[in-house]
Structure formats: structure tokens, C-alpha cells
């Protein structure tokens, strides 16, 4: 599991790759909470490198969207594919998140007020 964050204007782009499961959820949670504490509140998650997610991983994604909303911010995902897409569909998470095909679309959603 790797989580890489980069800043583009006011938006933090977070690229997740590998597996978001019961073993790796806590490191992603810690890194995300550190970004919230730094005052970041606009997030785009690049899911293209994510190969696997379980309910433990969904728990972290749900925490992320709740923390972002509590901070008055916005969060979007893009490139949700394969097993990850299937799990998002089955769990109803595809209706909770703003999900886009490309980074450009996710960024323009975040930029719109």
C-alpha cells in the first residue's frame, strides 16, 4: 500500500495504490487525518492504482468523506475500477461519493462552488 499526496492549488491529490485492507487501513487513516489537521479540506483521490479494497478500507474512505464534510470541504474520487468498483457498487458507496472517470473531471467538481 502506498499513499502519495501532492498539492495542486487548494486541492490535495491523493494517489492510493496497492491494497487497502485490514492490514493497511490504519496507515492511510493516519496520513489522511494528518492532512485534515494541517487544514486541508479539498481532496481528490486517484484510485487508478488501487487493486483491492475490503470493508476495512471502506471504513477509511467513509471516515475521509465525513471528516472532509465536517471541515466544510469537498472530496471526489476518480478511476475506480475492477474489484474496487465492484465493492463500491455492492456496498452502496458509489452513491455516497462523487466519482469521476478522470482527474480533470474530479478537479473541476472540486473547483465548482
Amino acid at each position: 500500500m502506498t499513499m502519495q499526496a501532492r498539492q495542486l492549488g487548494e486541492t490535495t491529490i491523493i494517489a492510493l495504490s496497492g491494497r487497502l485492507d485490514g492490514m493497511t487501513m490504519s496507515e492511510v487513516e493516519e496520513q489522511f487525518l494528518a492532512l485534515i489537521e494541517q487544514g486541508r479540506s479539498r481532496f481528490v483521490f486517484d484510485m487508478s492504482g488501487l487493486e483491492y479494497i475490503s470493508s476495512a478500507g471502506l471504513r477509511v474512505m467513509l471516515l475521509a468523506v465525513k471528516k472532509t464534510r465536517a471541515a466544510g470541504g469537498k472530496l471526489a474520487l476518480f478511476a475506480v475500477t475492477g474489484n474496487v468498483d465492484e465493492v463500491f457498487q455492492m456496498s452502496g458507496f458509489s452513491t455516497i461519493f462523487a466519482i469521476f472517470a478522470t482527474e480533470e473531471e474530479a478537479l473541476s467538481y472540486i473547483a465548482a462552488s
Binding site: M23, Y52, S54, V65, K66, N83, V87, M90, S91, G92
Partner: protein, 143 residues
């Protein structure tokens, strides 16, 4: 064809369980998608046992603290995953289904693992025998 493993009720054991399911999938020539589905239902049930059954951390050592897992290819192209644990009785099939239609601010994560198992597995069977929970999940190949 059967692969089995004995696991301590600790979260880090998921790594060994995952490796076993991955290796089994490769040996059996299963698709990456099917392998991911088998890993997912395996993880969900294993984490459920240790989080709710054994309420980690586990106080005592000994054989009764071990979780037995096996994965088997069955006739008629199906894969069977079986867990046997010594935790108090817990029948996931009697648990109320998670409400997957709630918005984010009302969503909890409880029950979601069981919901995923029931969505992915073609058949699940639970039994309480000899002080153990037996839980079997069957996944057909090619669906």
C-alpha cells in the same frame, strides 16, 4: 485439492491467509477477479472472527485459540472456503442486513463485511458444533 492453515486470532495473520488464497488461485488457474473475490470474503470473515469473536487482543495461548482455515476446489467448478473457530456462537446469516442506501452522514460500517460476503458468495452455511463456529462459503467459478 485442499490447502489449509492454522491462524492465530490476530489481525496480522491476514497476510498469511491472503498469501494462501493467492497461491491457491494461481495453482488452480483462477482469474485475478475471482482470486480478489475469494480474498475479500476470506478477509471479511477472518477479521469478523477476530474483532467480534475473540475481541482482540487474545489473552491466552493454546489450541483453542487457533482458527482453522481451508480452501478447496469442489466438483462442479466451485471453490469452498471454510473457517472453524472457538469463539462464542455467532451466526452471520441471522444478522440483520446492512442498510446500504443511507447517506454518508448516517452510514456506519457495521455489518458491511457480512453484506459483502453474502453478495459475493453463492452459498453460505453456518453450524455450531462441539463448541466451534463452522462457516463455509461457496463461490462458483465462471459467474
Amino acid at each position: 485439492m485442499d490447502d489449509s492453515i492454522s491462524l492465530a486470532p490476530e489481525r496480522k495473520e491476514w497476510a498469511r491467509l491472503r498469501e494462501l488464497i493467492e497461491a491457491f488461485s494461481v495453482k488452480q488457474g483462477l482469474s485475478a477477479e475471482l482470486s480478489a473475490s475469494l480474498q475479500l470474503i476470506g478477509e471479511e470473515w477472518f477479521i469478523n472472527i477476530i474483532m467480534h469473536g475473540y475481541k482482540e487482543p487474545v489473552p491466552a495461548e493454546g489450541p483453542s485459540q487457533k482458527i482453522a482455515f481451508s480452501i478447496t476446489r469442489q466438483p462442479h467448478d466451485a471453490i469452498r472456503l471454510c473457517f472453524i473457530d472457538h469463539a462464542p456462537p455467532f451466526d452471520p446469516l441471522r444478522r440483520q442486513a446492512a442498510n446500504i442506501e443511507l447517506p454518508a452522514d448516517k452510514r456506519g460500517i457495521g455489518g458491511l463485511g457480512i453484506h459483502l460476503i453474502r453478495s459475493i458468495a453463492d452459498e453460505c452455511r453456518y453450524a455450531r458444533k462441539d463448541g466451534c463456529n463452522y462457516f463455509e462459503m461457496i463461490k462458483k467459478i465462471g459467474e
